[in-house]
Symmetry: C2
């Protein structure tokens, strides 16, 4: 099994992070040479990775992707195991749990946001959720290689395990009473559950949650995209962390 990644940024990110085995890089003969491409060639050479210049017709099978004339064949993304993750010690750690996110662009944007905000891992279910495919990898700007992605068979079991390990569970739901900034996210390990674009977080997970929070809507138009919603919540947890550190100093 091989994955395809495409675009200069994604290929460069994969080379830099070194997390995934790169089998081959294909570069279009018509590609514009620039700093990024030179860096890609330099890193590939240094790491003994084959790269090949090919006619642009060779890219026809990848027409659906915005490949910019470069693709790499790489080993599939490595999913992590929740039990292993929980065996390590965690302090003030954070997780994001996705319950039924179906859109690849959303998953990519979410993973990117999580890496920027220092989230420790993202948990996705093995069914009824988009998996980490090429489009996710590209939208994430390579962020998939900078964070643990944990795949589980049952989100309910996963949340139960987290609770048994003293993690706090916060679900985002439009009908909640409390605002997301009413929760104090400091001094605990917590997981934020984001729901599917239409259905929201499943009832069984809401029941297990310690807090259910909403993003206040300032308009009669309640339809925030899941990745922008997560960004508002997760950077509030960052704000609180930084504010607390500033006070202690």
């Amino acid at each position: 099994m091989e994955d395809i990644i495409f675009g200069k940024n994604s290929v460069l990110e994969a080379l830099i992070s070194g997390e995934r085995e790169i089998n081959k890089i294909l570069i279009s003969k018509n590609i514009h040479n620039d700093v990024k491409l030179n860096k890609i060639k330099e890193l590939a050479q240094a790491n003994g990775i084959v790269f090949q210049f090919v006619a642009k017709e060779k890219f026809q099978p990848y027409a659906e992707y915005n490949h910019q004339g470069i693709i790499a064949r790489i080993s599939p993304v490595k999913y992590y195991d929740l039990d292993e993750f929980l065996e390590a010690a965690h302090e003030n750690a954070s997780l994001v749990i996705l319950d039924g996110v179906e859109d690849s662009h959303n998953l990519g944007a979410i993973i990117r946001t999580c890496v920027c905000a220092g989230v420790d891992a993202v948990i996705i279910p093995s069914r009824r959720n988009v998996q980490v495919n090429s489009i996710v990898e590209k939208t994430s700007a390579g962020a998939v290689n900078h964070i643990k992605i944990i795949k589980v068979n049952s989100l309910v079991n996963a949340v139960q395990k987290l609770k048994n390990n003293n993690w706090w569970i916060i679900a985002a739901d439009a009908s909640a009473n409390d605002n997301y900034f009413d929760v104090n996210y400091n001094d605990m390990n917590f997981a934020v559950i984001m729901g599917a674009e239409h259905a929201g977080v499943s009832r069984s997970l809401l029941k297990l949650s310690d807090f259910v929070v909403k993003i206040p809507m300032m308009n009669d138009f309640n339809s925030l995209n899941v990745s922008t919603a997560l960004s508002a919540i997760i950077f509030e947890t960052v704000r609180q962390k930084i504010r607390k550190t500033a006070k202690v100093k």
Copy 2:
């Protein structure tokens, strides 16, 4: 000139808001009948808008769009004029200024976030920025009909005008010293400038800004998507507003 909007949600939103003149609705004969479709037919009928059931082959010209078997031909989005906007009285109002956002999905997500957060208007330049096209409309889930979109020839002139009218200007830039949550957004009219995905906010606009703020990165991976970045900033301004109101009560 006509625009095309597509997908059940966008068409329904356009019918409900009534902001745009709908010339005709085309519905695929193979479409699945549901609550939304019934509502669309009901509203179209009530407003004397023609809808037509056609063979799915008629949708071939729109293959690039995720149309779900329904499109509407409508009058183009109505852009507002900055001078007119500034003639009205504003108190604790907010604006978002986009400096070179090129991706339709990003613009759609940004407009959607702005409507949810109660932003008064979005300013885009007439060049070097994506305009409000069908993909923007669709990604915004119809939000383009719930907010003023102001198009200007020169962002520098626009910012200067805002300053002359006592608006505060806040630019988001990765190299800023201050965090976005260090600014007090209450008791003023303010505009947040977001830059292009790669180049950031132009130097000429940075110079005119009263504050330049960054989103703190918790990882060595500084690459937040512009729509998720805006979400973090704009909902911090919402948080401050709600917190202030709560204190006064």
